[in-house]
């Protein structure tokens, strides 16, 4: 069990080392707070604004998670017809790839124009950035299958729909679930960008407004909060993954 302890303690030690070094550099070089705040300043600022930060974090969190949830459902639902028929795939998939080439941040002003400054453009931006990294691996896993497995299923008369539901979908589940990690970070990027462009709430807005009045410690507090939040959610996702698709982790590499 030593290795498990090491797994938890080692990164914490690394983080502490970096923090101490950071603090030391900022203090000895007398770097002003608005350029690079020291960790202690960041923490005291975070403590001072804890309630304000918590409310804004909640706003970002809800938008990102809603965006992610919609992206997950949408990707899974869309991958079914795409996997089922090559014609559908050929007709739709190039458009999706093309859409993915648009920088989604550029769509935020439009979304704000259509839906106002509330939660809707945030959720939509999160969704629009998050769905592609979920769709691609899920679809790929569904449409790649050993030829012999396909032949065996055909030999006892399986229909395309049966092959999809009995084999392709369960086969794709580990890929789908692991793609949620990618989707998660993308969704947060989307939510924060939307808050920066078109919102008066959320951590993205707090970062933008705090840097504009040179309150850099508050901006750093937001960044650390965002990192911490996505990290925790990612860990929760991993736990769900290991439970739901236990078979995919049959070998520990």
């Amino acid at each position: 069990m030593r290795s498990k302890k090491v797994k938890i303690i080692n990164p914490i030690l690394t983080l502490l080392t970096i923090g101490v070094f950071w603090e030391f550099v900022v203090r000895t070089l007398n770097i002003p707070n608005y350029v690079l705040p020291s960790p202690s300043t960041i923490f005291s600022t975070a403590a001072k604004y804890s309630l304000y930060l918590a409310f804004n974090l909640l706003d970002t969190l809800v938008a990102a998670l809603m965006g992610l949830a919609i992206a997950a459902v949408f990707s899974l639902a869309l991958s079914l017809p795409l996997a089922y028929s090559e014609v559908i795939r050929d007709s739709i998939y190039p458009l999706i790839t093309g859409f993915n080439a648009i920088p989604r941040a550029a769509l935020v002003p439009l979304l704000a124009l259509w839906f106002g400054l509330g939660a809707v453009p945030k959720v939509l931006t999160a969704f629009l950035i998050a769905f592609f990294p979920i769709l691609v691996p899920t679809l790929t896993a569904m449409i790649t299958m050993e030829k012999e497995l396909w032949e065996m299923l055909q030999s006892f008369g399986a229909s395309k729909g049966q092959i999809l539901t009995k084999v392709a979908v369960p086969r794709a589940m580990p890929y789908f679930l692991s793609s949620l990690h990618m989707g998660l970070t993308s969704a947060f990027v989307g939510a924060v960008i939307a808050e920066m462009v078109a919102s008066d709430k959320g951590l993205g807005y707090v970062i933008l407004s705090s840097t504009s009045r040179l309150d850099t410690p508050l901006a750093f507090a937001c960044l650390i909060l965002l990192a911490l939040t996505t990290f925790v959610i990612s860990k929760v996702l991993s736990m769900v993954e290991r439970r739901v698709v236990k078979w995919a982790y049959r070998v520990n590499i």
Binding site: S155, Q162, A248, R250
Partner: protein, 251 residues
């Protein structure tokens, strides 16, 4: 008695009409109910293609495939297949892997459950019903695949190099098991293999393929009573068969 499978002047081409490759040409073959026929030949001689034609997975460009006196339209539903790789679904337990064909064919799991347990018992998998395939050895996985191939009482069992990935000892165990199971199930069986000893040991008749495109070069009846003891391999008649077939494949 009518043959279970009849091939008449079957030819198969891969690729398109102008730049294709004829894999199999003018093959005539009949397999009678209960018969065990092996197809042997060098790799690339079209023996697997022939098996796919019988399974309805590949359509011949000319000739006729009759399955119980009826033409094979697309996929001949219901044959049992066993490949070199067990192709088990890792998210399903042994019993659920075995019942997969039933789920696909008619969904009547209830009435096939006792048959699944019977096959599990016969193949020595008792106690592993709820294990996952990846918890089993290669030989055990192939036993599960054999049960899955047989669960729906297929009129025809098609085996494509089923034991070539197994070690020698496990392979001999599987030979015994296969003989026992197909005798008990009275299963008509076609075995594609490049192992001549395996072909002689397991089959009533050995079909030798060769050439490019692949044709049937000759056929040989194996006059031992089935099921056969593994010791028959060390008799002179057995070796005569093996040498004869090797010579037929050889040139």
């Amino acid at each position: 008695m009518d043959p279970v499978v009849q091939l008449r002047k079957v030819s198969v081409r891969y690729g398109n009409s102008n730049g294709g490759l004829t894999a199999v040409a003018d093959v005539d073959l009949s397999v009678m109910p209960g018969e065990v026929v092996s197809i042997v030949g060098k790799s690339g001689c079209g023996k697997t293609t022939l098996l796919k034609v019988i399974a309805g997975l590949v359509r011949p460009v000319s000739g006729e495939v009759l399955f119980n006196n009826k033409g094979v339209n697309g996929y001949s539903k219901g044959v049992g297949m066993l490949f070199q790789s067990p192709l088990l679904l890792p998210w399903r337990t042994v019993i659920k892997n075995i019942l997969l064909p039933i789920e696909i064919i008619n969904g009547d799991l209830e009435s096939y459950l006792s048959r699944a347990y019977e096959l599990i018992e016969k193949t020595g998998l008792k106690g592993y019903e709820n294990s996952y395939p990846w918890e089993l050895s290669g030989g055990m996985q192939q036993r599960v695949a054999l049960c899955r191939a047989l669960i729906h009482k297929p009129p025809l069992l098609l085996l494509d190099e089923p034991f070539s990935a197994l070690d020698a000892i496990t392979r001999e165990e599987m030979w015994n098991l296969l003989q026992e199971v197909i005798t008990y199930e009275k299963c008509t069986t076609i075995l594609v293999t490049h192992d001549v000893r395996e072909a002689v040991l397991l089959s009533d008749r050995v079909v030798v393929m060769g050439g490019k495109p692949g044709r049937i070069k000759s056929e040989l009846m194996i006059n031992f009573r089935r099921p056969r003891d593994l010791m028959v391999q060390y008799t002179k008649e057995f070796n005569d068969y093996v040498v004869m077939i090797k010579n037929l494949i050889g040139d």
